[in-house]
Every structure is written in C-alpha cells, then in structure tokens.
C-alpha cells in the first residue's frame, strides 16, 4: 500500500467498467445463441484481463522507476542472481493479480453470479490469474528494461487496451456481425484469455477454451520472460 494508486486503480476501474457494461449491454442476453442469461456472468471475465493489463503497467512502471533512480543497480550489487531481481518484481505483480482475482470473484458472487465449474473451477481461475499476471507482467518488465522510462511504459497502455476492445470482451465471437471485427477478435489472443475465464464461469469445464487460454498465457510468458532476461543482460552490459 505504499502506492495506493497502483493497488486501487486495478481493483476499482475494472469493477466500474463491469458495472457500466452490465447495465448498458444487458439486452445482449436476449440475442439468440447468447451463452447465458446473466450478462454480469458473461462480462465477469473482463476485469480479470483488464486487471492483468494494469499489472503490466505496474510491473513496468515500478521497474522503470528503479532503473531511473539507480535502485536497480543497488539491487544488482548484492550477491543475488540478476534474474532474481526480475523474479522479485514479477512476484509482486502476481500477488497483486491474485488479490485482484479474489476481489473480482467476490464481487461476482455477491451480485449472484454462479460458478458453473464449482470450487475446483475457482482454483483453476486463480491459477489462470497467476499465469495472466506473469505473462502480462513480463511484457511490462520487458518494456521497462528496453526503454528505462516509466513514461514510455505507460505509453503502451492504450495499445494494450486496443487489444482488449477488439476482442470478444463484450459479445461472443460467433455473434459479432461485422466481419472485420469478428476476424480481428478471432486473431486477437486476448479473446482466448477472456473465453478461458468465461468458460469456467458460464460453461463449466471446456478443455479447448482452457487449453487455449493457458497455452497463450504460457507463450506470452515464455516470450516475455526470455526477452526480459535478455534485456536485463543487455542493460547491465551497457
């Protein structure tokens, strides 16, 4: 809680967006083929991914600040391995991601969302929150290590949000009428992350959705972590 904005914003804004969308887009549930009667249940996946985007910014901005203040040098002057510095940074992001997941879940349950996959699904959801935070957090640390600037990291935020908005965030892909938008949402990995969470909430157990969601997270995490560790090495060798 040293930086309340870094904790409160990722908790409050996604919930606000959920409230606004649930009110405004409730009529969507009347569409033939809409997978649930509860739009809140459908939209509850969004805060999980939106929160992860905030995590990206937090991880990147914090690390960039450590670079700018020289604190990264202070940490790397200790005997610990340099990758541990990265691990520590991401550890914080993951903890925040899990706290967010608890809050979003509590809000969902409080407004009457039923979890079709049951308690085991909730555990899988936490595992997914872990993976999403790690994956997006690693992109944040990569941006910070490459640019060394908190402002540059924050400049990425709108770009990440574009990915969220051109996904199946507000409507299932099969119900999107506009072809280019449907194609963009299908090509957008964020759609599959949303659909993995959504499947646990409104479907139950959907192996394909979960495999795609976890697989995409794993790919992003592997790429993000590999490039971040390379970027750290390059930065320390400058």
């Amino acid at each position: 809680m040293r930086q309340p904005a870094a904790v409160i914003a990722p908790l409050v804004f996604p919930i606000l967006l959920l409230a606004v969308n649930s009110g405004g887009l409730k009529a969507e549930t009347q569409l033939p083929g809409f997978p649930t009667n509860s739009f809140v249940a459908f939209a509850l996946a969004v805060p999980f991914i939106q929160g992860a985007l905030f995590s990206t910014m937090n991880a990147g901005t914090d690390l960039a600040r450590d670079i700018q203040t020289g604190f990264l040098n202070r940490l790397t002057l200790t005997p610990m391995r340099r990758l541990a510095v990265l691990g520590g940074q991401l550890g914080g992001v993951i903890v925040l991601g899990l706290v967010q997941a608890v809050v979003y879940l509590a809000v969902g349950l409080a407004v009457g969302v039923r979890f079709e996959s049951g308690p085991a699904g909730i555990l899988v959801l936490f595992a997914f929150a872990f993976m999403v935070s790690l994956a997006f957090g690693s992109l944040g640390t990569l941006a910070a290590l490459r640019t060394g600037s908190g402002e540059a990291v924050q400049g990425l935020f709108p770009a990440f949000f574009v990915f969220l908005f051109i996904s199946s965030m507000n409507i299932p892909r099969n119900l999107i009428q506009v072809t280019w938008f449907r194609d963009a949402a299908t090509a957008n990995p964020v759609s599959y992350l949303l659909e993995a969470v959504r499947s646990l909430i409104i479907v139950g157990w959907n192996a394909e959705a979960l495999a795609l969601g976890f697989g995409i997270c794993a790919v992003i995490a592997v790429i993000g972590l590999s490039l971040s560790s390379w970027a750290l090495k390059v930065r320390m060798a400058r």
């Binding site: 040098n73 005997p79 400058r238």
Partner: protein, 329 residues
C-alpha cells in the same frame, strides 16, 4: 586475504566508438584509501562499474578481493560495498527499510538485520530520520544512507564513486571523517573516485590520476607533488620600482620563475628557505606587500601530465559531452 584488494590488468571498456577506459593497470593494497582523480568523463565511474561487476569489461582482467569480476560476480559482490555517483535509493522506502532490505539481500539473519540497521542509522546520523520515506531526505542525507547501505554487510572493500559531489562542506567533512574511520578502525580498503583535488589530497593514501581512460600518474599525494617540482615563493614588493631588487634578493634561494604580480623563485631545497627569504628581505630593508609560498598541488601534477588543469579539463569534457550521446562517464 592474501594479495592486493583490487588488481586490474589492461582493463578496457568501449562504448560504441568511445574507449571510456583504455588499458588500465591497477593495484590497490588491502587497507589503503586509493583516490581515483580525474575530470568528468575521464573513465572513473566506468572503472568502478567494471570493478563492482555492474559492467563487463571489453578487454582485460580484474580481481577484487581475489575474485574475478567477470566469472565470480556473486563472490565479488559479497565482499564489496558500493555507493555510486547517484544515491541509488527507492523514494518510497524509509531509510530503515532500505537497510533491512539490503541486509536481507545480503543473506544476513533476521535478528541481526534490525540491530545492524539501527547501528548504521546511528553511525551516519540518521537515527531520527530512519523511519521517514527517502523522498523527504536532503541530498546529504541520501548520500549518508547510501554509504550506510554499502556498509550493511561489513564489506572488506568499499567503492565510493564521487561520494561528496553536490554536498555542502559540513556533509563532505563528515563523510571524510567516516571514510577515514572505516580504514583506520575497521581496516576497510577504500577505492574512491573524485574530481576534487582536496578530497584526494586529504583522504587518499595513494592517488591515481586518470584522463581520457588512461592512468597518467600514480603515487602518494606527496610523491606526485614532488614529481612535478619544488615549492615556489612569490614576492610582491610594496613599491613597484623595487621588483629588480626583490628578484635579486630571492634569487639567492632558488631559480627565478614566472610571476604575474611580483617576482618568484622555485626553491632549491625546501620550504624552510622561506624563513631565510624573510630575513634577507628584512636585512635589505625591502618592504613587501605580499609573500606567498606555493606548494605544488595535485592540479599541478594533472597539468604537468596532461597539459591542462583539472578544472579546465572538467569544463572541456562538459563541452565535449554536450554534443555526445549520454554514456557512463
């Protein structure tokens, strides 16, 4: 530990086309204060960054506390403390939290961390401010906390990169006292970079003068000063018409040399001749407006070795760097 605390051979660091450090050889004995003196951009910080494992050398080898800086980084970092040019602190942590975090990262047991933090806060005069966030600290307080952080794990070797730059005279003197105490009482080896002649002169047992990535002179401050010449005495007669007579009198004590306002000689032996000069002037009834003894300074050494004064070199480097991409100095 047997052998020198710090050893470097042919150390080179190249940034794109700039050879920031160009083949440095160094030996710093255990327990000494080694002053690394040079203008901005001479290669001091780059050398420190290589010796503390923050930057890999482009060529050459270096051993710190017997460990190779390239292949034994964790061992090097365990045995050194470093306070870099900019105080490396997190503005959102308190001083005490910094110390405990540092102690934890150094692998110190939990019960010792608290005690060590209190002890170091007291030592650097931050006991009262220890629980305030660092963003509320003054520049001097940040420097002192940075020094405390470097000392958390009682390192045998301490690197201080321009530790007093930007500090007021009181903070500077306090830091000098602490560095002196560390060497005297705790036997810590100190590698100190500075662009202040006085700092090197007061603190260092030995001084290496670096310019354009090369060590141009090395020795004790007295050896270095002696190497560039003997003291000079300058006399300004009260009556401007007495210049020739004054020159003749003082010429008995040394070789005439240039003086802007009066006449001057480079003494043949030592400053003890000063008393003789005063007596001779008095005996000849020559009234003087000014009589000054000039000891050679480290700036004279820098001038003799590089052809420019340290102050002038700093300005020149600033000018050059203004047109260059920023790189570590």
């Amino acid at each position: 530990m047997d052998g020198p605390a710090i050893e470097a051979e042919g150390l080179v660091r190249v940034f794109k086309k700039t050879r920031a450090v160009d083949g440095i050889d160094l030996v710093v004995e255990s327990g000494e204060i080694y002053g690394f003196l040079g203008p901005n951009g001479a290669g001091k910080s780059t050398t420190v960054h290589m010796l503390t494992t923050l930057l890999p050398p482009t060529a050459g080898t270096a051993r710190v506390n017997g460990y190779d800086v390239v292949h034994q980084g964790p061992q090097v970092r365990s045995s050194i403390g470093a306070a870099l040019q900019e105080a490396a602190l997190d503005p959102l942590l308190t001083g005490r939290e910094h110390l405990r975090l540092q102690a934890s990262l150094q692998g110190m047991p939990h019960d010792i961390r608290r005690r060590r933090a209190d002890e170091l806060l007291h030592r650097v005069g931050l006991s009262e401010a220890g629980d305030r966030k660092v963003k509320t600290y003054s520049g001097g307080m940040k420097r002192r906390l940075d020094l405390a952080l470097a000392l958390v794990h009682s390192p045998r070797i301490l690197f201080l990169d321009e530790p007093t730059t930007g500090l007021d005279i009181q903070s500077r003197t306090a830091l000098w006292d602490e560095v002196g105490r560390l060497t005297r009482d705790d036997g810590v080896t100190v590698f100190l970079t500075t662009q202040y002649l006085e700092e090197a002169d007061v603190l260092a047992d030995r001084v290496g003068i670096i310019d354009h990535g090369h060590i141009v002179a090395e020795g004790t401050p007295d050896e270095l000063k002696a190497s560039v010449g003997r003291p000079t005495v300058e006399v300004v007669p009260l009556d401007a018409g007495e210049h020739e007579r004054a020159a003749a009198i003082i010429a008995r004590f040394g070789d005439p040399c240039g003086s802007e306002h009066g006449v001057a000689v480079r003494l043949r032996s030592s400053e003890a001749d000063l008393a003789g000069i005063v007596r001779a002037l008095d005996a000849e009834n020559l009234k003087v407006e000014q009589l000054q003894l000039h000891q050679p300074s480290l700036d004279d050494v820098f001038l003799a070795k590089t052809g420019r004064s340290l102050e002038g070199a700093a300005e020149e480097e600033e000018g050059e760097r203004g047109g260059l991409a920023m790189e570590p100095a």
